[in-house]
Amino acid sequence: MPHRSIVPVMTVLVVCLFALGACAPAITTVPAASAPQPTAAAQPSVTTDLTVFAAASLTDSFKEIAQQFEADHPGVKVVNNFAGSQALSTQLKEGAKADVFASANNTEMKNVQDAGLADNTAEVFVTNRLVVIVPADNPGGINELVDLAKPNLKLVMAQKTVPVGGYTISMLEKMSADADYGADFVTAVLKNVVSEENNVKAVVAKVALGEADAGVVYVSDVTPDVSDKVKSLPVPDNFNQVARYPIVVLKNAAQPQLASDFVSFVLAADGGQKILEKWNFIPVK
């Protein structure tokens, strides 16, 4: 019985799928009824999508930047795609279409440039620092950084291919080189790692849920949403890493002019920089 009825059902499904696919591009060109059309006749009357691929750590700040940019550019819709920078660069290399790429390290920016997808005009627009976070009730009893090496803790880190994971390893190695922590500090800490996450926000989530005893994230990740769920242990300057975030207009951008406007806005002292600073990033301007 089910065999007989499943064929028409499946064909209908497939037809719907194709119909949807055919409609999708049309949706973006529907006139933006809500966009105000005041003086100039040159004012765009259709919605234009600007696709921005941004590191997961930029989630909150870039959402706000997008809102501001959209307010300044009627008819423009910023479509953000947030993930670990390494995931974004893989997506771009596999043919994903985007206008702007903002990476959390230079490695992934270079990967994209080496693939011929962007020229060398990438500019560092913000920097970030590492911080160790523990759940508010601190189940692992981690009160200073040296406690990270205590046996049987549950630490969560980003995978080393994720920018923040790479920075974390560098930080631990630097600490290990210091007599206060000792040469086997890095080994002891890594032994406590129970999960390697694919982006920094996943690390934040596991600590905020209280499942992990500690995690290494960016200062900017301790947002108002999680600040009452976690406690921060600052990392001293001599061990801390400076994460540099480059941004670039991609070569096959569908909206090159708009993309370059967006990058300028991110770099503007009274635009993106102010917003990034509000989210605990360190502005460059």
Binding site: M10, K154, V194, G210, A212
Partner: protein, 275 residues
């Protein structure tokens, strides 16, 4: 095609072939749509050298997946068999609810399953404190992987086993008992063998589903190579760091899935549908 069908009138012949053409066109489209991605995967994975197959990342994930999926399937068998038998044979008022509850994990998004498992068995979860008192912390352990796999996969076995038990001719059981054979021995000698194909098919489906578990595992058990990083998690991580290993593991999972569905189809008796 049906040129030999001369008894049909011109009109109905045309209508029939029109219908056939439509069916042919749509099924070609559907089959292409369903197989093209798999073919692309195979084409990309097949030329890879032996290193991709024998890399540490591949072997660790393979071993962990085979172990955990097998244990999850055994748990489903042990606990699911009596449940399926009762559901197939007894009638009680809460039965529709129990039936539905058991099926829920099959349609639940895996991320929901993962979050639910955390809320139940996580450190801050409902059973977190009592488990901790026993010295047990489940998240980030291999036990968490098995739990997640059992949660999402066991319903496949229960459904299939229930159908199998339901299809056994009761007269044969009654006859056996009339001949003085105890109910348990009757179950063992008559009911079980007769429903064996359905049970086995269900076990295979459960194993395959457990092998493919991703969302609940990454949320509840985390992602650590050699400990909780099963094949689907290794594929996800490998996409960014070790694409060759990800491709090889994907190819393995495609082959296993195809093989299992093929076997299940071959052994399942008529009238019993799986899944």
């Amino acid at each position: 095609m049906s040129t030999s069908n001369l008894t049909l009138s011109q009109f109905s012949l045309r209508r029939l072939s029109g219908k056939r053409a439509l069916l042919l066109a749509f099924s070609t489209l559907l089959i292409l749509f369903l197989t093209l991605p798999l073919v692309a995967l195979v084409l990309r994975a097949l030329p890879l050298g032996i290193e991709a197959w024998t890399s540490r990342a591949t072997l660790d994930a393979l071993q962990l997946s085979l172990t955990t999926a097998t244990i999850a399937t055994l748990i489903a068998f042990g606990i699911g068999t009596p449940v399926a038998y009762v559901l197939a044979r007894e009638n009680f008022r809460a039965k529709p609810i129990v039936d539905t509850l058991i099926d829920v994990p099959m349609v639940l998004p895996p991320s929901v399953a993962g979050l639910a498992l955390l809320m139940a068995f996580g450190r801050r979860g409902l059973l977190g404190p009592p488990l901790a008192a026993l010295g047990l912390e489940l998240p980030f352990t291999i036990a968490a992987v098995i739990l997640a796999e059992t949660f999402v996969a066991a319903p496949f076995y229960v459904r299939s086993a229930k159908a199998g038990f339901g299809a056994v001719d009761r007269k044969l059981e009654q006859m056996s008992e009339l001949l003085g054979v105890s109910p348990f021995r009757t179950w063992l000698r008559v009911t079980l063998p007769l429903s064996a194909p359905a049970l086995f098919g269900g076990l295979l489906m459960t194993w395959a589903r457990a092998l493919g578990e991703f969302g609940a595992t990454i949320m509840f058990a985390g992602n650590f190579p050699g400990r909780t990083q099963t094949m689907p998690l290794a594929i996800y991580s490998g996409l960014e760091s070790n694409l060759d290993s990800a491709l090889v593991l994907s190819l393995l999972l495609v082959i296993v899935s195809f093989g299992i569905l093929f076997v299940v189809r071959a052994i399942s008796p008529k009238g019993i549908t799986l899944g």
